[in-house]
Structures are given as structure tokens and as C-alpha cells.
């Protein structure tokens, strides 16, 4: 059964169903949660079944990348789908709406469609941040997020109009005059904004810190994956654009800045926000290497692998923060012995984020930096490796606090979700067995 737009249809049905259930005086919580889960899972199933090939309308396209990214977005949003508070039907609808926006973004075939999907994805996300944690901080962060997103949208529109004025095309164009170059650069800036590339990263730590941990996990994985493909689509639509040449440097600097800034953070969510900036930097470096090397398949594989590993690592760490009910690094002290199994899992995730073998995080960094070395981007790769090294300082520091230091403060009152942390750690260890897995990926040279 091959249904075009199946994933989007599943998610849209979820949104509409949630809103309809919300009309009842007391919406059934269990049904809402089940609906969210079914919508996300079926979007992944439909994605695998989707027919490959562009649609005649040239608005939507369905290629190997869009299918892979559709599954990736499902993977990134599954934890939040499992965790959503069923009492709040609006929250469920916003979550499904944002996911629908992402899945439209990965299938958009031309520039206006990219813009619409971008806004479709972003608008529910602002509200999700505001609503996920009661109090003024969430609202403040959401407003900041909204303005940042508005700037990104405006940049994109401006770039789009300049691009159109030059090429008279809303899709791929071969030759670009300086005006078209400027337009393409502005559109890329919008994607970099969404990814939190330096110096466009100022909004991201505030947002990730203010949102509920599980929402930050969702934003840092599903949303980031969609934004990476957004940047890749721009590279494909405007292959002559010069911005691709600057992506490796931007990525390397972003990775370094994120790692260095995370060193001194005391609040865990803020720390992982900077860590996510650092990882976004590596992804941008990967996109740059892919674009400069003539967009080969193994560059896509490297990015995809990184995103899968990161979806597990980031969701797992935010899940641990929620599970342990802690906010600062000081509260981590001595938790290892109290919450043994989830702490072991969290430690594995930290080592994986730091790129220590034999974990999925190591293979992910290896593949990505290798693509960079292969594309003759030696210095960005060295800087990327350096940022991984700096990041180890705080991942090891957290391990130290968790296991080596004496506990302080009251006994923790663990929340639910230990199983999710452990599942993510198991996934990361399995990904670490990548030489076995990698050979089954298509398009990867085996000799």
C-alpha cells in the first residue's frame, strides 16, 4: 500500500483528531496519548512505504532523503509522544502540528513550500515551549524564540525574493548573478538560524533552558534533523551558490563556541543546549563537506548516522534530567549510587556524546569528520575534533559528579521514564557496533 503524503496525512489526522477530542468537556487523556503515539508511529510506517519520485506538481518530492528524514523525525519525536501529558489536549495538538510541519519541510520541493513548511513547523513549537512549563519563564523564552524565528523567516523571504528576481525560478537554478548569490546566502542564513549556528545562536540556550526537558529533547533532535535537511535542500536547489564554501568554517567555529560555552554552565538544560549547538556545528561542517564534495551518498549516510545517534543521545540525556528531577550540576553529585541503572545509562550517553568508542557517538563523529578530511577540509576537521575534546571536559565532569562525589541535598524523587533513558543507552551501544550495521546501509562502499 503506497500512499503519497502518507506520513503527513497520518500526522494531520492526529492533529484534527486531537482538536476534535478537545471539544469534549473532559477529553479522555488515554485516548489523546494513544492518538499522539499512533500518529507518530504510523507516520514512520507510511514513510517507509512512500513511493519514491517527485510528484507532478513539483511542490512535494519524495526521495530517499525525505523518507530517511521522515523516520528520523519520528525517532526524535517518539519520546515526547510517549511522555505527553494527556490532560492537555492543546499540548498534544501543538506537538503533532510541529511534527507535521517538520515532515512537510523534509518533503518540500521548491522554495515557497520550504518557507511554508518552515513556518508550519515553527509556530506550534513556540507555543509548545510556552505551554510545556507553567510560569513566566516559559512565556518569556517562547517570545524570544518567536522573534528569533521571525527574523529567520524574514531573512528567508527576503532571500527568496532576491533569488527569484535574479533567476525567475522558485526551484533549482543553474547560474546566479550577485543578486541571486546574496539571496541564496540569506536563505542559508535562515537555516543556520534554525540550527543555532554561531553567531545566530543567542536564542537557543534560553529556549532550551526554559522549556520542559522532554520538549528540549524534541526540539534538539526532531527539529534539528529537519533543519539539517532544510540546509541540504538549499545546497541542492542552488548548487552554484557560494555559501556552501563557508559552511565548514561556520560549522567548526560553532562547534568550538558551543563546547567552550558549555564548559561553565551550571544548569543542566542550558549546558545541553550549548552541547546541542556544538553538535549542530559538526552537522553544519558535515553538510558543508557533503556539498563541497559534490553531494555524494556517503556524505548523506554520515549525516544521517550522526542524527540518529544524536536523536538517541539528546533525548536520553533530557529524559534523565526529567527522570532524576534535577536542574543543576551540583544536584548530580552522588546520584549514581542512588539511581543506579538509569545513571549507568546516562553515563553511557555522556561518553557517547563525548565521542568515546565503542559507542554510537564515536562512530557518528568519526564518519562526519572523516567525510570532512576526505573533502580536503583538514582544518575544520581538526577544529571539530578539538571541540569534541573540549566537550569531553564537561561530560567527564558530569560523570565525576554523578559517581565520584559525595551526595548533597535531599534524596531524589525520581519521575517516570527510567526505561527510556536505558533504551536510549542500549541504542547508542548498538550503534557503536556500527561496522556490522554500516555494511547493511545501501550506498556505502564495502571494499
Amino acid at each position: 500500500m503506497m500512499i503519497p503524503l502518507g506520513p503527513q496525512a497520518a500526522l494531520a489526522t492526529g492533529v484534527l483528531g486531537t482538536l476534535s477530542l478537545g471539544l469534549m468537556r473532559r477529553p479522555p487523556a488515554l485516548a489523546l496519548r494513544a492518538l499522539a503515539l499512533v500518529a507518530v508511529v504510523s507516520s514512520m510506517i507510511f514513510a517507509v512505504w512512500a513511493p519514491i519520485g517527485a510528484f507532478p506538481s513539483l511542490i512535494i518530492l519524495c526521495d530517499a532523503k525525505s523518507i530517511a528524514w521522515q523516520c528520523l523525525i519520528g525517532l526524535g519525536s517518539l519520546p515526547l509522544a510517549l511522555w505527553l501529558d494527556g490532560e492537555d489536549d492543546v499540548l498534544v495538538a501543538l506537538f503533532l502540528g510541529a511534527t507535521l510541519g517538520m515532515s512537510l519541510l523534509v518533503t518540500a520541493a521548491n522554495l515557497p513550500m520550504l518557507f511554508i513548511a518552515l513556518e508550519f513547523m515553527s509556530l506550534p513549537a513556540y507555543l509548545l515551549v510556552a505551554r510545556s512549563r507553567p510560569g513566566s519563564r516559559g512565556v518569556e523564552a517562547a517570545i524570544k524564540y518567536f522573534f528569533a524565528g521571525g527574523v529567520a523567516g524574514a531573512l528567508f523571504l527576503l532571500g527568496l525574493s532576491m533569488y527569484y528576481a535574479d533567476t525567475r525560478s522558485l526551484a533549482a537554478a543553474a547560474a546566479l548573478s550577485p543578486l541571486g548569490q546574496a539571496g541564496a546566502t540569506l536563505m542559508a542564513a535562515a537555516a543556520l538560524f534554525k540550527l543555532g549556528a554561531f553567531p545566530l545562536n543567542w536564542w537557543l540556550p534560553d529556549v532550551y533552558e526554559a522549556a520542559a526537558p522532554e520538549v528540549s529533547g524534541f526540539l534538539s533532535t526532531a527539529m534539528k534533523s529537519a533543519a539539517v535537511l532544510f540546509l541540504m535542500r538549499l545546497c541542492e536547489l542552488a548548487p552554484q551558490a557560494k555559501f556552501a564554501a563557508y559552511l565548514p568554517a561556520i560549522g567548526a567555529v560553532t562547534a568550538l563556541v558551543g563546547s567552550v560555552m558549555a564548559l561553565r554552565q551550571e544548569r543542566l538544560q542550558r549546558l545541553f543546549a550549548y552541547s546541542s549547538i556544538s553538535n549542530a556545528g559538526l552537522l553544519i561542517l558535515g553538510v558543508g563537506a557533503w556539498a563541497l564534495a559534490g553531494r555524494p551518498a556517503d556524505g548523506v549516510i554520515a549525516l544521517l548516522f550522526f542524527l540518529v545517534a544524536y536523536a538517541l543521545m539528546s533525548n536520553g540525556t533530557f529524559a534523565f534530567i526529567k527522570y532524576a528531577g534535577i536542574e543543576t550540576r551540583a544536584q548530580l553529585k552522588g546520584r549514581g549510587a542512588m539511581l543506579f541503572a538509569p545513571s549507568v545509562a546516562f553515563t553511557i550517553l555522556l561518553f557517547s556524546l563525548g565521542g568515546v568508542p565503542p559507542t554510537g557517538g564515536f562512530i557518528a563523529k568519526l564518519l562526519l569528520l572523516w567525510r570532512a578530511v576526505d573533502a580536503n577540509l583538514l582544518w575544520p576537521a581538526v577544529l571539530g575534533g578539538l571541540s569534541a575534546l573540549i566537550s569531553l571536559a564537561y561530560y567527564l565532569g558530569m560523570t565525576r559528579e554523578l559517581w565520584f562525589e559525595a551526595p548533597q541535598g535531599p534524596e531524589p524523587k525520581p519521575d517516570s521514564g527510567a526505561a527510556l533513558v536505558i533504551a536510549c543507552a542500549v541504542g547508542v551501544v548498538l550503534l557503536g557496533a556500527a561496522p556490522w550495521l554500516m555494511s547493511s546501509f545501501s550506498g556505502v562502499p564495502t571494499r
Binding site: V356, P358, W370, L378, L396, T399, M438, T446, R447
Partner: protein, 481 residues
């Protein structure tokens, strides 16, 4: 083939898993598995040895993506170092028998041995790197969980510093593999196939990346600053594994990867690398002289000793290479014994400063005897093992670059200048007012058994080094200039 090579690293790994599940009985499991590990090395090393004396056993798995494949090979150098690992692991388990530690302690030691063995076996550079890095994790926990007062700082510093070296090494390996693919169209990580000639003008960059990665581990001055902290803060058995085996990874990496791949570049780099090695021997000895903490002194002496190994290895003469390789084993035995004894002292008195003791010889004659014996072995007294290794390394260096040999000889002299006064201050000098010598009881049977074994080996190598040299020589023959 009696046993596959994989057994060598799987046995301690299973041991680690079993130890972590056995709770209070885990030390018994650790003992059984370390004995089994040593037996496996013995079987493979002695019984599977082909008649021509050169031991090369290969084990090759299927090729995965990017030419990564599970390839193990062992020659006499690998088996010698794995034997050292297994032996010291068993010694560590027996020496820490009465410590009150959780199951994780024993599991970490077994996991560490598994990873170290993997490093010495891997012929596929991808697996080499994985095992190389995997050694860091158990040692991080050994230092951080069971170390002494400043362990938190030392554990993180140890991990970060050595990881820095590894990242450089990884980038160099990636560049090498990519260049090989570009030139030949074949993806491979096989050390025996990779050709550094494909690198072209990038070869020096890759060579220095590898060398830096190994030099951090050795450690070569000025990349040594992680070592004194890590050695001092680790528990005694942790220091034994750290000094006894983990430092050897750096020299092994040079012998196995950097020198065979870049024979000409490494010869050209001799003045720099050899100069740093000679400087390490002198600098390490001078630093050791200035220490007031026994363990820190031994830690600095390790830097000096590894400098000798390097001088021998870099000289690329037959006697230098075999002497350097033998010195790797020697240093594991003597420094291991010294670290264990400082650990025994610390368990009894919770002190390890040079001025905290005095007149120990009358209270603990066995300890005094073994400490004196190991100190003499460490400073290279003829008839004990240190002399053989240092003599051969220096004579190798003499024929390659005489200046280096003279600098190294100065280091030998300095070794006596720090080790003997320390021995004197702890065991013979009159006890001062703050002395804790009264708390120190003599060694018990278990501790003596451990030290008799180590001392016996030191004496054996010292008196009859020929079979040991003959063991290492075939593996190193190809590196002679």
C-alpha cells in the same frame, strides 16, 4: 591452532562481566579469570609457536563498510606485552585481595586488561583505535572511584590529556586511509596493506599526528603532565597497570604503526624525537629528585625510564630495539613492584611522604629487602634486569646518534641520585618526630609471594637475558635500519 587469538581479549572481558555480577564473591571470579587469561597467553605464546621462532598468527574476519575488518595478528612483541598484561593483572588481583572494594573494582581491572590486549592484537587500525580508547574508560573509573584524595581532578585530567593525543592519532589515521583509497581505489584499514607513500606531501603531517598521539601516552616531555597526577592518585594496583602496561602502548604504537609506515620520516625525525627522549630521561630524573612524595617520585622516574626505551627504539639498531622492548617489560616489573610496595605502606600508615617514615628496615625487614632490591633493579645495577635493558638501549643510541647516548648516560647517573637517597630516608635514616613508622607492620605471606615472584623475574632477566632478547628479536628484525 589450539586457541584462537580472540580468546585472549574475550577471556578477560567475560571476566569483567562475571565480576560485575558476582557481588561480594567478585574477587574470586577476578582471580579465576586472570589466571585463565595468563594460561591462555601461555598456551598461545609457547605452544603455538612455529618452529622457525617467528610467531605470526593471523585471524581475519569479513570486511565491513570502508574496508574495516576484524583482523588480529600476534608476533612475539604482541605476545610478550600481552603476557606482561596478564601477569601484572594477576599480580594486581592478588595484591588488592584484602581491599574492601565493590565488584566494580575487579570488573574495571578485567575490562582494562581486555582492552589492552586488544590494542596489542589488532592489525586493523580501526579496531586498534577502538581498543586504544577503550582502555581509558576503566582506568578513568579506577582512578576516580578508588584513588586517593585528589582523585577527581586526576581522573578527568588523565582522560582529557590522553584523549587529545588519540584524537590527533585518529585524524592522522583517517587521512592515511582516505589517501590510500584515493590512490588505489581500495578501502582498507589493514596495517599490513596500507601504504604511506600514497599520502604525498601530507605525509609529514600524518606522521607527526601519529607520533603526537603516541608521545602523549609514553609520555614524552613536554606532554607528560597528566602522568604524575594520575599515577599518584590511582590506587596501587591502578598505578601498576598504568605504569606497567598503559605507558607501553605508546612505544608499542611507535613500533607497530609509526615506524613501519614511515621508515624514512621517522629516521629524519630522530634528532627531534631522540632529543626529546633524552631530555625526558634527564628531566624525569631531576623532577623525581625534587619530590617529597614516594609515589610521585616513582611516577617521575617512569618518565625517565620510558625515555630510555625510546632512545633504544628510535636508534633502529638490533640491540637498541630489542633492548628497548625488553626495557618495556623490565619497567613493568620493577616499577610495578615499587608502586605495590608504596601501596602496602599507604594501606598501613595512610602516608607516603619521604619524611613520614624512617628506620623502617628494623620494623619491616622484608619490605626493606624488596624495596632495596627493586630500587637497585630500577637504577640499573648489573645482574638485575634494568641493567640489560638500559645498556642495550644506550648502546643502540650510541651507534645512531652518540650525543643522545651521552645524555642518556647522564640520566642513568641521576637515577641513582634520586632513588638511593629516597630508599635511605625511608628505611635507614632515624625516624623523625612525625614518623608513622610505628604503624608499619612487615609484609604478610600474600604480599611476600607477590614480591618474590616479581623479584625472581627481575633476577632471571638480569642474569640470563638471552632467551628474553631472543623472544623479542624476530618481531623487531624488520625495523632495523
Amino acid at each position: 591452532m589450539i586457541l584462537p587469538l580472540t580468546t585472549l581479549w574475550i577471556v578477560p572481558l567475560i571476566g569483567a562481566a562475571v565480576c560485575s555480577m558476582m557481588g561480594s564473591r567478585s574477587k574470586h571470579a577476578a582471580l579465576i579469570f586472570s589466571a585463565a587469561f595468563l594460561a591462555a597467553v601461555g598456551i598461545i605464546g609457547l605452544l603455538q609457536r612455529p618452529t622457525e621462532g617467528l610467531l605470526v598468527i593471523n585471524e581475519i574476519g569479513p570486511a565491513w563498510a570502508y574496508g574495516i575488518s576484524y583482523r588480529l595478528s600476534a608476533d612475539s612483541l604482541s605476545i610478550g606485552l600481552i603476557g606482561l598484561t596478564a601477569f601484572l593483572n594477576l599480580i594486581c588481583v592478588i595484591a588488592s585481595w584484602e581491599l574492601e572494594v565493590s565488584a566494580g573494582y575487579w570488573a574495571c581491572f578485567m575490562a582494562l586488561s581486555a582492552a589492552l590486549t586488544g590494542v596489542f592484537l589488532a592489525r586493523d587500525l580501526f579496531f586498534f583505535y577502538i581498543f586504544w580508547e577503550a582502555t581509558l574508560v576503566p582506568m578513568f573509573f579506577i582512578i576516580g572511584l578508588w584513588g586517593s584524595s585528589n582523585r577527581l581532578h586526576a581522573a578527568v585530567k588523565f582522560f582529557l590529556f590522553t584523549f587529545l593525543g588519540s584524537v590527533l592519532m585518529l585524524l592522522a589515521l583517517l587521512a592515511l586511509v582516505s589517501a590510500h583509497h584515493r590512490a588505489t581505489g581500495v578501502w582498507t584499514w589493514d596495517l599490513a596493506v596500507l601504504d604511506a607513500g600514497t599520502l604525498g606531501s601530507a605525509a609529514p603531517l600524518v606522521f607527526w599526528g601519529l607520533v603526537l598521539g603516541f608521545a602523549v601516552k609514553i609520555p614524552m616531555v613536554p606532554l607528560h603532565t597528566w602522568l604524575p597526577d594520575a599515577h599518584t592518585e590511582a590506587p596501587a594496583a591502578g598505578s601498576v597497570m598504568l605504569a606497567g602496561v598503559m605507558l607501553k602502548m605508546g612505544v608499542y604504537g611507535l613500533l607497530r604503526v609509526a615506524l613501519p609506515l614511515f621508515p624514512i620520516l621517522s629516521w629524519d625525525a630522530l634528532p627531534i624525537l631522540g632529543g626529546l627522549a633524552a631530555f625526558s630521561t634527564i628531566y624525569g630524573a631531576l623532577c623525581a629528585m625534587a619530590q617529597t612524595d614516594l609515589k610521585r617520585m616513582i611516577a617521575y622516574s617512569s618518565i625517565a625510564h620510558l625515555g630510555f626505551c625510546l632512545l633504544g627504539v628510535l636508534s633502529r639498531t638490533s640491540q637498541g630495539l630489542t633492548g628497548g622492548a625488553l626495557q618495556l617489560v623490565n619497567h613493568g616489573l620493577t616499577t610495578g613492584a615499587l608502586f605495590l610496595m608504596v601501596g602496602f605502606l599507604y594501606e598501613r600508615s595512610h602516608k607516603r611522604g619521604l619524611s613520614d617514615f624512617g628506620d623502617l628496615a628494623s620494623r619491616a625487614p622484608y619490605l626493606a629487602f624488596f624495596f632495596g632490591f627493586s630500587t637497585l633493579a630500577s637504577i640499573g645495577l648489573p645482574g638485575l634486569n634494568g641493567f640489560v635493558g638500559e645498556f642495550l638501549s644506550l648502546s643502540g643510541a650510541l651507534s645512531a646518534l652518540p650525543v643522545l647516548a651521552f645524555a642518556g648516560m647522564f640520566g642513568v647517573t641521576l637515577a641513582a641520585a634520586y632513588a638511593l637517597p629516597a630508599f635511605q630516608a625511608v628505611f635507614w635514616a632515624p625516624a623523625g618526630s612525625g614518623s608513622v613508622s610505628a604503624k608499619v607492620t612487615d609484609l604478610n605471606y600474600r604480599e611476600r609471594a607477590v614480591l618474590w615472584t616479581l623479584s625472581g623475574l627481575m633476577l632471571w632477566i638480569g642474569l640470563a637475558p638471552r632467551p628474553w632478547l631472543a623472544w623479542f628479536e624476530p618481531a623487531l628484525r624488520g625495523l632495523v635500519r
